[in-house]
């Protein structure tokens, strides 16, 4: 069930959505599409408006402006209970006074599906989320992970047109969260349900999504496949929010055959791959991800983006070594090296090197320029 990113009509189209609570603008202007069967994440820090967008799609919050179109049908003014969507809450929001079975059957009952037809559907769904024998239990008798699976089954059993998930894994502990991620992704691939997933966890968004919508302050900063938003962030915010990087402010020197040369603070010149839209004299931000910096023995030759440095901090974190190295001009860089490599001692003289392709150049004066692309 690979998503048809182009061609087919979108399963969900949101355009120009806006919502203010009093003087606080929660969502300024959000537009996005989800293709049928797509797993789309809304990623951003808390308070960026991602949950409000989701609640507007669900119908729990009324937008001030904008349009929500579900499979070609404008549902902006359709009441919540007629939208036929699924919603999974961070708090699970199970009905504490009903058994697991009755919780899952709730949506079917509201649609007039009787006991005879409903029971096998509920049982099949409980089987699918691996809760088969627990139908007679009450929610309080289940663990957090089991409760979240009941919530998933409850939302999916009515075969919703789109499943909305509001930070569904945030209340689970780390191990269980990893397990549920895999389970959620498999479920989505198996059922082919379009899913809109809200999270503040960038790793979660990258792992699960077909595409990621990065949001900040009520606006969309960038929409793209996980590799795109990670490797080619459109704005400084996206670069900072996804992964750890070293940032320099600088000015573009005349562009020559080697690529774009950027004079950054502290008298260094960094070579970056050419990119449209850059012109000499422009103020830019330069980001180099910590895992893209190589630490080589001091003295090794080569051209471009090679700087003598000294190791000032080292820590081992299992999958990787974390280093802080200090350049000759005093500037410190964070570097991540593969965990299998030999550790470098504190005080060792090294060369910090990176390729022009690893340099992310971001125009400083155009925060919204990255827009939706």
């Amino acid at each position: 069930m690979s998503p048809a990113v182009s061609g087919a009509a979108p399963a969900l189209r949101v355009s120009g959505l806006r919502k203010a609570f009093g003087a606080v603008v929660a969502v300024a202007d959000v537009s996005l599409d989800a293709a049928p069967g797509e797993f789309l994440s809304l990623l951003g820090p808390s308070g960026c408006g991602k949950s409000t967008v989701l609640r507007m799609v669900a119908g729990l919050v009324e937008p001030d402006a904008g349009q929500i179109v579900l499979a070609g049908e404008d549902i902006t003014r359709v009441p919540v209970h007629r939208r036929n969507l699924g919603l999974v809450f961070q708090s699970y929001a199970l009905f504490p006074h009903m058994t697991v079975h009755d919780n899952v059957a709730f949506g079917l009952r509201r649609r007039g599906v009787g006991e005879a037809e409903g029971r096998p559907r509920v049982e099949r769904m409980l089987e699918l989320v691996r809760l088969g024998p627990l139908g007679a239990r009450y929610p309080r008798e289940l663990s957090g992970g089991q409760q979240q699976r009941v919530a998933l089954a409850r939302a999916l059993v009515t075969e919703p047109r789109v499943l909305l998930l509001d930070e569904p894994l945030s209340n689970l502990d780390a191990l269980l969260r990893d397990e549920m991620r895999v389970e959620l992704k498999r479920l989505q691939e198996r059922l082919g349900t379009t899913m809109i997933f809200v999270t503040h966890d960038q790793a979660e968004a990258l792992i699960l999504s077909d595409r990621v919508v990065v949001m900040e302050a009520g606006r969309v900063e960038q929409i793209g496949r996980p590799e795109e938003v990670y490797r080619r962030p459109a704005t400084p915010f996206v670069a900072r929010f996804l992964g750890r990087a070293n940032f320099f402010a600088g000015t573009i020197a005349p562009i020559d055959a080697r690529g774009v040369v950027i004079m950054v603070e502290g008298g260094l010149s960094v070579v970056a791959a050419p990119r449209p839209g850059l012109h000499p004299g422009q103020r830019v931000q330069v980001a180099i991800r910590q895992e893209n910096i190589r630490l080589e023995p001091a003295g090794a030759g080569g051209a471009g983006n090679r700087f003598a440095a000294k190791v000032v901090f080292h820590a081992f974190a299992g999958q990787s070594h974390h280093y802080v190295v200090q350049l000759a001009n005093g500037r410190e860089l964070e570097v991540a090296a593969p965990g299998g490599s030999l550790p470098l001692a504190r005080g060792a003289a090294v060369v910090a090197a990176w390729g022009p392709d690893d340099v992310v150049t971001l125009a400083e004066d155009a925060p919204g320029a990255g827009g939706a692309r």
């Binding site: 919540v80 209970h81 199970l94 009905f95 504490p96 709730f106 009515t158």
Partner: protein, 281 residues
């Protein structure tokens, strides 16, 4: 030891209960079986006559029935008026919330006798209510609202409404909004969500509020006495008269013990009911 310390914390309350409740009520038991002879007083014989009279004599049965009916209607009325109010106060994000809650509680700060006299002024033959009804042409003759069931019910409902609202607010606030939202997203209309989710989850509050108002109503003395007059009796005014007007302590004791028994039975039954509904919530 944990349990030892727990018992220590219970001790002051247990002592108070013993001295102020169990002992006095216990002392009523022997009194209630003594024959009372007019002009002589309490004699040393034994009789169960005051009890049999209470449960067989139509005069007393009517008073008991009236007391229970009053308790039931006042409880129902405070519930019907109080629930929407409590729901609003529990869910509103208005900055006026604390002031509104204060407004609900405010009547409790006024003296009960003062409030009851207020109701007499309102409900009398030529009181405000009757004047308004006649001016509006709703009725031609003044409606009798004093010294009868209607007057007592109106006044007691007003007096005990704050208790119902205060008890309901907490349990309603404890119902997560997400749970109601989940029901609506799953296709339940507003009414269906209320009936299937909000109301069942409010049951603990409804139960304790109802018990409280019912018990307060059937044991209320001042309001029934002032609004019911000397002839329209409920159990508490009957007990009062037996003890202090007729000086028939044995008859008063028997009635008092019956009222106590009714209250205890009710509290016990509600405890079972609460455990049964609470077990699932």
């Amino acid at each position: 030891m944990k349990s030892g310390r727990g018992l220590g914390l219970l001790l002051p309350a247990a002592l108070l209960l013993l001295v102020a409740f169990v002992l006095p009520v216990g002392m009523l038991v022997p009194t209630s079986f003594r024959p009372y002879v007019p002009l002589v007083g309490i004699t040393s014989g034994f009789t169960a006559g005051y009890y049999t009279r209470l449960v067989t004599d139509s005069y007393y049965l009517e008073i008991i029935g009236r007391t229970l009916a009053l308790g039931l209607t006042v409880t129902l009325a405070t519930l019907l008026i109080g629930y929407p109010l409590a729901y609003f106060l529990a869910r509103t994000r208005s900055q006026w919330r604390n002031w509104l809650t204060l407004l609900v509680v405010f009547p409790l700060y006024l003296n009960l006798v003062v409030r009851t006299f207020g109701w007499i002024a309102l409900l009398a033959q030529n009181g405000l209510v009757n004047q308004a009804l006649q001016t509006l042409g709703v009725v031609n003759e003044p409606v009798k609202l004093l010294f009868n069931f209607a007057g007592l019910m109106i006044a007691l409902t007003h007096i005990f409404l704050p208790f119902m609202v205060l008890v309901l607010i907490g349990p309603i606030q404890n119902i997560p909004r997400d749970v109601e939202d989940a029901a609506r997203v799953l296709g339940a209309s507003w009414g269906s969500t209320f009936l299937r989710v909000t109301l069942p989850l409010s049951m603990p509050g409804i139960l304790s509020g109802s018990i409280l108002v019912f018990v307060l109503t059937i044991s209320a003395l001042v309001t029934p006495r002032l609004l019911g007059g000397p002839t329209y009796q409920v159990m508490s005014t009957l007990i009062f008269d037996e003890f202090l007007q007729r000086l028939n302590w044995p008859a008063g004791s028997a009635a008092a013990l019956l009222l106590t028994l009714m209250v205890l039975t009710l509290v016990f039954l509600s405890g079972i009911l609460a455990r049964r509904t609470g077990a699932r919530a």
